[in-house]
């Protein structure tokens, strides 16, 4: 239904609101390994990742045990109709005493691209960590200059582009130029408002301020 959208909503956003299913975030369990393998072994998904693409189930199990299960904040992205993970979103606090800062990353299985899943997951994850960690003021993310899909996700999730950082990280054996994005806790109110709109698909349009 279009009546819940505000004035000025783009055609493509209306399309997304009709087709994107409700997503939920939950912790991973080891029994998610088969679903995890779906994207973790897929070069199309992993090619911009810091982690190498897994090739075997054992590698996936090791990665889940060593990195995902002990992670400070890592969630499976689930589509409500059957609750199985179609991706991952994680938030890593900054090292040392910098409790005001954390970084976000995400992967979505290739078959679920183009439906707003990553954007919805990033918005939900951002809201959640800003609420769970009251000292958090800055959530940031870096995306390779060629990774326009991830840049689009961050922009739609309300992140602000801050800088192009040259030769910033070594990925796949070479230094890469990365774009730095950030979302501040003072901006995340906007994220909550967007979440309100997402979850009230069939209710009357609520006018903004």
């Amino acid at each position: 239904m279009d009546q819940h959208m505000g004035v000025g909503a783009k055609e493509e956003d209306r399309e997304e609101k009709r087709t994107v299913p409700e997503i939920t975030l939950r912790p991973f369990t080891i029994s998610d390994v088969d679903d995890f393998m779906t994207w973790a072994t897929d070069d199309r998904v992993m090619r911009f990742s810091r982690r190498p693409t897994c090739t075997t189930k054992d590698e996936c199990l090791t990665h889940m045990k060593d990195h995902i299960m002990p992670h400070p904040w890592c969630r499976a992205i689930c589509i409500d109709d059957d609750g199985r993970p179609v991706g991952l979103v994680s938030v890593m606090p900054a090292p040392g005493a910098d409790v005001h800062r954390a970084s976000i990353g995400f992967d979505v299985a290739y078959d679920y691209w183009g439906r707003g899943v990553a954007t919805a997951a990033v918005k939900k994850a951002a809201s959640a960590v800003f609420e769970e960690w009251p000292l958090l003021e800055r959530l940031d993310a870096v995306a390779e200059v060629n990774n326009t899909a991830s840049q689009r996700v961050l922009e739609k999730a309300g992140f602000q582009r801050e800088a192009v950082l040259k030769s910033y990280l070594v990925l796949r054996g070479e230094s890469k130029d990365m774009i730095m994005y950030s979302l501040l806790s003072s901006n995340s109110l906007k994220v909550e408002e967007m979440n309100l709109l997402d979850s009230e698909n069939n209710s009357r349009w609520m006018p903004g301020k």
């Binding site: 005493a97 005001h100 800055r138 602000q160 801050e162 192009v164 040259k166 030769s167 070594v170 230094s175």
Partner: protein, 174 residues
């Protein structure tokens, strides 16, 4: 005896530099934009020199006529961060305004790119209000990449920082 040379040189620190180090490390004007607070006890500074400065992979005394008037360091990364290092420096206030920090930064960058295998990027994060330090980096040839909002906690407040960088291929053009 030859006339004292009044040019900037870099060398490793020694514990015997403690008194000279204390001059800038105890000065609030110098530490205003530093994460650390001014030292009040020389023994704390001696411990810092012994535990951090002396064993550090890249930490140098900035010397004028052979005596330390400041420090310059590069924090080197590992893993995915191995192509970059973060520059830091401090200079005694009595020697500000004469181009010594710029000279020290230029020398440090030349040396660290030559000495560290795989280093491609030296970056520096400077408080938006620290105009003097921004000028040092600009004069040393760094590029201003953007402002990282609320990046650092300084004296209890979150601060916006300006990101500067110098890439090894740019550094050769000097």
């Amino acid at each position: 005896m030859a006339e004292e040379r009044r040019e900037i040189t870099l060398r490793r620190f020694d514990l015997s530099d403690l008194d000279d180090y204390m001059v800038w490390a105890s000065d609030d004007r110098v530490t205003a934009f530093c994460r650390w607070d001014s030292y009040t006890d020389k023994e704390d500074l001696r411990r810092y020199m012994r535990e951090t400065v002396l064993p550090h992979p890249w930490f140098r005394a900035v010397c004028l006529g052979g005596r330390p008037i400041g420090a310059v360091s590069v924090e080197l990364g590992a893993g995915c961060d191995r192509c970059k290092g973060e520059l830091g420096y401090a200079l005694a206030a009595a020697h500000w305004g004469r181009g010594h920090a710029t000279a020290a930064v230029k020398m440090a960058v030349r040396s660290v790119f030559r000495e560290v295998e795989g280093l491609e990027r030296v970056e520096a994060l400077v408080d938006v209000d620290n105009k003097a330090s921004q000028r040092v980096l600009e004069k040393a040839g760094f590029a201003r990449e953007g402002v990282l909002r609320k990046s650092m906690v300084l004296k209890g407040r979150t601060r916006d920082l300006v990101m500067f960088s110098l890439i090894s291929t740019d550094a050769l053009v000097d």
